[in-house]
Symmetry: C2
Subunit: 186 residues, 2 copies
DNA sequence: GAAGGCATGTAATGAGTTACATGATTAT
DNA sequence: ATAATCATGTAACTCATTACATGCCTTC
């Protein structure tokens, strides 16, 4: 029950367990379908973090007797209180857009047309695909989400579109003719 | 000179030192003004990582004799080769948008109008400010950047606007009149 | 010539990733 | 009944963050 500063990981776990208890594997599933779209937590983190939160008194767990000895976590009152405290406190920290493609662009030599164009094409496709995927998700499962969850997905769509457009325009700006080496559309 | 997988941090350092040698402090400055806008590396990382890169043969360093014993790093041929290899290799991994505000929204109870509205207002301001700041930066120092660097900044502006708009619309959707300090709904 | 801040670095701790390991379940 | 895959967890390692420590330079 030692004090420690909670991280975004902690709140992702607390928030996910609020409302329904679950095992680490459940967390992997629930978070994988939702939060992981914008903030990735590795599988192992979702095993470590609940253990820490239990140690801190924000969760309790029961371990299955037989077989796999699955551990199911439940949020405590203290956990719920901490979650709500966090929800109401001012939000510090700025948005990081950790995008490997963007990092590459930063160091790219615009003179190297082919390399930049290849990067731009890849990124455009990847982000357009993601935008489409989210849009589909939004249409199919929005009804199962809370309005707030649907809203985050909406932002996800907007951002992917913004990024896809950016690469698309960058590509156009390169004066790229359909490129000999590896083109798609006419 | 042991092999190891390089991380984005590694490439940020290699890329920044390509063209001009520098100390860790120089890295802090150069990266702080540019890359840190979308991908933050802590001060200590920029001391640790060059040491690792030297160990791996991608950098060499000379240490000042007197006083502070400053260590200046220079990229090696191997380092440059690795940087270029990376620049030309396909880019895996998807964009993470690590935004504490967004994480909060995900768990927010839309019924709690005041809390959501407060969050939305804060975020809208913060992102609008950032968009303005980047725009200013772009106008004033774009000429000092490579076109690729200016392009990343351009994306930064677009993203911040997208996010600011999102919060703005969310706020409007809550049926919020201009707000006297903290009201509830009619 | 003392105070305050910028420059420079390290140590301790904590978090995150990768790799490994194995138990259940399903499909063939 | 075997292979394949899903579910579950831990261990080892690498990275990142925070805190600390101190040197140097400016300014008053």
């Amino acid at each position: 029950m030692s004090a420690r500063k909670l991280t975004p990981t902690s709140y992702a776990v607390l928030g996910t367990l609020d409302g329904a208890p679950g095992t680490s594997y459940d967390l992997v599933q629930r978070i994988g379908l939702t939060i992981a779209n914008f903030w990735i937590f590795s599988h192992a983190q979702l095993y470590d973090e609940p253990a820490r939160l239990e140690e801190a008194g924000y969760l309790t767990s029961v371990t299955e007797e037989g077989g796999r000895r699955r551990r199911t976590y439940t949020i405590t009152e203290a956990g719920r209180a901490e979650l709500h405290r966090w929800l109401h406190e001012p939000t510090p920290g700025h948005t990081e857009v950790r995008d490997p493609g963007l990092l590459k662009l930063f160091f790219a030599d615009m003179g190297d047309r082919t390399a930049v164009a290849a990067l731009a094409r890849d990124q455009r496709e990847a982000h357009a695909d993601r935008a489409a995927m989210y849009t589909h998700l939004h249409r199919t499962v929005a009804s199962l989400m809370t309005p707030a969850q649907a809203a985050t997905l909406d932002l996800g769509i907007r951002m992917e579109r913004t990024i896809a457009d950016f690469w698309d325009e960058l590509l156009a700006g390169l004066g790229t003719r359909p490129d000999p080496a590896s083109e798609r559309d006419p």
